[in-house]
């Protein structure tokens, strides 16, 4: 009776172990656990200076230029040396939109809101690496089209 009781949990454990092993191997494709995987080469940051299409109107646009060593901290905000209202003429960069001046109560302030100070929370650069997975994102118009039928 003791043995029978043990059988089920034992089988369960083995099953988990097998599944776990499998999920590990899919993360390390065709790689023995004892071997070091060959890392892919480092990708370069896209620096084309061509503004990218947004997927929906509220999307923070991606950064089309390199930002290596751009300092954003308590002392200074390098991004704002080009993207602030006063600097756009000299830098020819698009001004941060008016939503960046809004505090959480919806009031527009003279300076950008502290909520928008750390630009990289929302805006990111892109690299020239191939996508890791398939993108299943559908544009709004596409969704509307498919729902019509």
């Amino acid at each position: 009776m003791n043995k029978k009781r043990l059988l089920f949990p034992a089988l369960l454990l083995i099953a988990i172990a097998v599944f776990a092993e499998e999920s590990i191997t899919t993360l390390r494709p065709n790689q023995a656990i004892t071997e070091e995987a060959e890392p892919p080469s480092m990708a370069n940051v896209v620096n084309t200076d061509i503004r990218q299409e947004r997927n929906y109107p509220m999307q923070p646009p991606v950064i089309p230029h390199k930002i290596r060593n751009y300092q954003v901290d308590l002392n200074t905000n390098k991004c704002m040396s080009c993207h602030s209202r006063e600097r756009t003429q000299a830098s020819q960069a698009p001004m941060v939109s008016v939503t960046h001046f809004m505090d959480r109560d919806g009031n527009f302030r003279a300076e950008i809101s502290p909520r928008r100070y750390f630009c990289l929370q929302c805006h990111v650069t892109q690299t020239d690496s191939p996508p890791m997975g398939k993108n299943q994102f559908k544009d709004m118009y596409e969704v509307i089209e498919t729902n019509k039928n």
Partner: protein, 195 residues
């Protein structure tokens, strides 16, 4: 004793008896070279990075920060040393700068920046000296490596080419006006032009 001194003093101002004029001229000339060379060698040593980062103020603050930047490690393998950006190559400018730098050594001796905190408090002032210097000499040290005449705008990014072909080309702005903080972290920039 006094007599002896008097004797040598007089000897100094009398024509030489023992040495020929030729010996004296050539000897003096060689001694001059040795002295001059030694002086310049000593000067050269103060230009080396080992000297600059010999004190922990520089090693722990500015040198540490430099290591993350493009001027320390890049695809071309050209490495900018402290003196490349901070010491003028022209000799008179160099001496003038050394005299100024002595003040910083003074600062070290009396511990005005001997902790990270004190250094950061002083950073805006130190940075402003450097900006003023580079502004006054039209970013001479940058131009020793980066020559405007040989910049290929077509090879630059659009943002760079746009600024270089306008504000820089017209002489309205110089490198340091737009490229502050390329080698070290910046202090509080409030009130600085262009920020």
């Amino acid at each position: 004793m006094w007599n002896k001194i008097k004797h040598y003093w007089q000897l100094l101002w009398h024509p030489s008896i023992h040495f020929s004029l030729g010996f004296l001229t050539i000897g003096g000339f060689i001694a001059g070279i040795i002295f001059w060379g030694g002086f310049n060698t000593a000067m050269e040593f103060t230009n080396t990075e080992t000297f600059c980062i010999g004190c922990h103020e520089m090693r722990d603050n500015v040198y540490n920060e430099l290591q993350n930047t493009i001027h320390f490690s890049n695809r071309s393998g050209v490495r900018a040393k402290c003196s490349d950006c901070h010491v003028p190559h022209d000799w008179t400018d160099k001496i003038a700068r050394k005299m100024q730098a002595s003040k910083e050594v003074w600062g070290k001796l009396f511990g005005t920046i001997n902790t990270r905190e004190k250094f950061l408090n002083k950073r805006r002032e130190l940075a402003e000296h450097e900006w003023a210097r580079l502004k006054a000499n039209d970013s001479l040290e940058c131009r020793n490596c980066h020559n405007f005449d040989y910049m290929d705008f077509t090879a630059q990014s659009q943002r760079a080419a746009q600024q270089h072909s306008t504000a820089l080309a017209s002489g309205e702005k110089t490198c340091i006006d737009c490229h502050k903080g390329i080698a070290h972290e910046l202090p509080d920039m409030s009130g600085v032009e262009g920020w």
